[in-house]
Symmetry: C2
Subunit: 352 residues, 2 copies
């Protein structure tokens, strides 16, 4: 199978390990902003939506925000595979591409920053990074925000803070989220208890692609529920401290399992590795489950022949649209499992 | 893991592929004989059993039967692991070692010929070979038989032929059996129909270790039910012609599956290969099932990195007693799965 150069396809941050990379896959900060003088997107007419787009587009062009070159994409001009790929790379929400009219997606070259125009709010600024990097992502998002504010006038209220379409985003408009890999908490069935404890301290838990999506491969997205009444730093600080506790819990269970049933655990993880490298048909769900096992095996030094970064890249590349991009061909849905298995096999062989 | 030299442990024929080796693992011919002047073993007293042993022992020592050097073993002097190993190598029946007193096992150096003394009959002569080799094994067994008859006087009746303890062996006293690997007939669930058809034409079907044992790894032992009223050649000819039909049926299903669902089949067999080479714990039953899948994969050119002969050797070496012999240590039964997985991994790695 000829492969397109994945480095052009994947966001650069994916290929970095990042802090606490044994548990934290990635960090993301998202700011919700709306422009003064326009109704919220759900109430705006097409002309207004169009003007909002043009206003933000020119602000991005005027202020380069020290973020390198920005690609400005009109969602309606993007084909359906590319659109799906944007979701798979977490550059936009699944909802954003469902109705592509009057929507813009603005992405920097490293694909660490993305701006959604006319999603739920006029503007959503998003910064992503590998591992446990809340401060870094928050700084980055704030820098873009401050910079764009030179050209844009935001809806802001002295008492309420930033005004947003949905009141849950009112105030700072910030949502900090972390993608966590929690295989051992899941294995010993402590995960439900942990997740429900998070809910009690104002932390949301979601699936891989955000609200309403399922958790596959023992990957959980946690984020702050509240955006009002506290500063961005306080919100981020709270999430960080809670996250540190979850990391600690996951690491403790890993250590305990390693001590108490090393062979059984190693057997399970190595079998997954065997299947991953030999199967001829892999659904995206099974691939993610196996990749999750193999990642744990590598973290626990039970599997030594696989590069951690390649595993993380495969967690992305084995997704349906990215798979088609990387193999350079449109693949019928009934043939995807075959190409996915082939891609994974070839990819892991290269890393040996 | 340090391994003892397996070539000293396994019968030489195991490491040969043999005719129709894609379906027929091995052929075996067994002759039942009793000495004139002694009661059958189930009626004989200890002194008589002892005399029978000595008589046969000295016949073997006088006639060397052109079969090279024979090892004469008193079963009661063999430790329990070695005894189990003799069963695993099919050199004697499981019943034979259960009550070790007054029993002798006589084996040639290649372990292709074995004589059981005081099993159900005074003497059972057995010859084994790889693949579809009924004529070869029958010749070999007959040669030993003729040769021993120079020194021994058998119970023989002009009308009935050779007299045996159990009337089912009366007549020629010959049982010809073939060990068949029938994964595809099993997969498409035609196996029951095929096996019941065999019963209707006077062919017995048994498990891996003979009467009353189960079939693992899609391996079936077929043999003639009748020993009376026909010549050895007729009996062998009938079994051979039936066996050729079963081989044909298995090959046809393999071809059909290859044509109609190649990827699904390849996926299944390659997954088994992945598990076999990566698992850390393997029961003997699972190991045999996986080895069976991998053998089929190799036969269908879906798996190219494994040597057929090594697979056949592993079907033996992964058995409990042989495993202990080959690893050179006594292994507690709870640790066997661990050592079995390690042996298989190391062994297959060497063959790559």
């Amino acid at each position: 199978m000829e492969m397109n150069n994945y480095s052009l396809i994947l966001p650069k941050w994916v290929s970095k390990e990042g802090e606490a990379g044994d548990v934290v896959l990635s960090s993301r900060v998202r700011l919700a902003r709306n422009l003064k003088g326009f109704p919220f997107p759900n109430c705006a007419n097409n002309q207004q939506l169009s003007e909002i787009g043009k206003t933000i587009e020119s602000a991005v062009q005027i202020e380069n925000c020290h973020a390198g070159h920005f690609n400005i994409l009109r969602v309606k001009d993007i084909d359906s595979i590319e659109r799906m790929m944007l979701v798979e790379k977490h550059l936009c929400s699944p909802q954003f591409i469902d109705e592509p009219e009057y929507k813009w997606l603005i992405v920097n070259e490293e694909q660490s920053i993305s701006l959604m125009v006319n999603e739920e709010d006029h503007l959503r600024i998003q910064a992503m990074a590998s591992g446990f990097a809340v401060d870094f992502s928050l700084d980055l998002a704030n820098k873009i925000d401050d910079c764009l504010e030179e050209s844009l006038e935001y809806c802001f209220d002295e008492n309420c803070g930033y005004l947003t379409t949905c009141p849950t985003n009112l105030g700072t408009g910030v949502r900090v989220s972390l993608m966590l890999h929690l295989p051992c908490l899941t294995m010993v069935e402590q995960i439900k208890k942990v997740l429900s404890a998070l809910n009690h301290v104002g932390i949301n838990v979601r699936g891989l692609y955000g609200e309403g999506t399922e958790s596959y491969g023992n990957i959980y997205q946690i984020s702050n529920q509240i955006t009002l009444g506290r500063s961005e730093e306080e919100l981020a600080g709270h999430l960080k401290s809670v996250c540190r506790q979850v990391i600690e819990q996951e690491r403790n269970v890993r250590e305990a399992l390693y001590k108490e049933s090393r062979i059984q655990l190693e057997d399970r993880l190595c079998r997954s590795y065997g299947i991953l490298t030999e199967a001829r048909l892999l659904s995206s769900e099974e691939a993610l489950k196996l990749l999750s096992d193999v990642k744990l095996g590598v973290e626990l030094d039970m599997i030594s022949t696989v590069d951690k970064v390649k595993l993380k890249e495969l967690m992305f590349l084995s997704r349906a649209a990215l798979l088609q991009k990387v193999t350079g061909q449109e693949i019928k849905s009934c043939e995807r499992d075959y190409y996915r298995a082939q891609l994974i096999r070839d990819y892991l062989r290269k890393s040996e």
